[in-house]
């Protein structure tokens, strides 16, 4: 069975809204979550295809959140959004197991393509 749920985490309402709109327009199901911890819990009950995570993975953050990030990455493909040119965050994200890093400001077309290709690659879960 195909999994259609895209989890979305962002502190910015504008980014959440854009992502939800894109995901829904693509015929997928969008679920916004408040934290990585909430994502770990949601993973237990919901079928899912990927997480789009905006920020909150700086390597200077508290250890708990680091553990949660690595743990989420091991369970679901994660697309991390970063500020343009934020190389340290990109390096950290990939090292912890993120699938890809996408720079802001968001290009609607390209982020949608990226989500679709993740969905296509994870059709069975």
């Amino acid at each position: 069975m195909a999994c259609h749920t895209v989890f979305i985490i962002s502190n910015e309402a504008a980014i959440r809204d854009v992502l939800v709109e894109l995901v829904v327009a693509a015929g997928l199901h969008a679920v916004t979550l408040s934290s990585l911890k909430a994502c770990l819990e949601a993973l237990r009950s919901e079928s899912h295809c990927c997480l789009v995570l905006d920020g909150g993975i700086d390597d200077k953050l508290e250890p708990d959140r680091q553990v949660n990030f690595a743990s989420v990455c091991s369970k679901i493909p994660v697309l991390v959004l970063t500020e343009r040119g934020d190389i340290p965050t990109a390096v950290h994200a990939i090292r912890q197991g993120a699938l890809d890093v996408i720079q802001k400001p968001l290009q609607h077309e390209s982020i949608l393509e990226r989500i679709k290709s993740v969905v296509a690659a994870n059709i069975i879960c």
């Binding site: 343009r84 190389i87 990109a90």
Partner: protein, 209 residues
């Protein structure tokens, strides 16, 4: 300090001033460094058996650092690579990290930042090389086991006790225990727990190939 003395930091950069400054920095903390002025110069003198790590510049004439990184991957080269660049962007960092770089550092960097990264790469290389030595010597010792000992070993890997092994092979528990002791001794391993630790990943890798 877990860095063994013979570890070398291989610096690959076409800018002589950069090469010299990194080499000087490393030597100031007692690390051995070797410089190459191009990707090809390094490829032409490839010595995979030499432990250490690579500090690699991205933008170089003829062959870029990232192309060299892919070539080294294709060759099965496991020495950790730290990528350094003055003209990096996020996609380039993602590519280098996905290709297995241990770090991607942008110039200008703080010297301590580079040193920390190099030290952790050297530790990683030492650990990888230690593991493959242990597995290599295990491989050799495995060939020395008798047929019966190999049977006992298979049961041990399945987590069976001496008593259970004895029953399975229709031998006395004392004999099974003796086989168990002998084979551990031959493999140079102190306990069944350690045996499983060493042999399990190897088995999984063999299945992959």
């Amino acid at each position: 300090m877990s860095n063994t003395p013979e570890q070398t930091v291989f610096i690959i950069d076409d800018d002589e001033a950069v090469r010299d400054s990194i080499k000087e920095l490393l030597e100031s903390v007692g690390l051995q460094a070797e410089c190459y002025d191009s990707a090809l110069a390094f490829l032409n003198n490839l010595e995979p058996e030499r432990p250490g790590c690579i500090v690699l510049d991205v933008r170089m004439a003829e062959m870029s650092g990232l192309v060299l990184q892919s070539k080294l991957n294709d060759l099965g080269f496991t020495t950790p690579v730290i990528v350094i660049t003055g003209h990096g962007d996020v996609p380039m960092a993602v590519q280098a990290m996905k290709n297995g770089a241990v770090d991607f550092i942008q110039k200008p960097y703080r010297e301590q930042f580079l040193l920390d990264s190099i030290n952790s790469a050297l530790e990683q290389d030492a650990a990888t090389r230690h593991l493959s030595t242990v597995e290599y010597s295990l491989d050799q010792h495995l060939a020395e086991l008798t047929k019966r000992e190999k049977e006992v070993l298979t049961h041990m890997q399945a987590g069976r006790t001496a008593k259970e092994i004895a029953r399975a092979l229709s031998i006395s528990p004392r004999t099974a225990e003796a086989h168990r002791r002998n084979l551990l001794h031959k493999l140079g391993i102190s306990s069944a727990k350690e045996l499983i630790l060493h042999l399990t990943p190897q088995k999984e890798r063999n299945q992959d190939s």
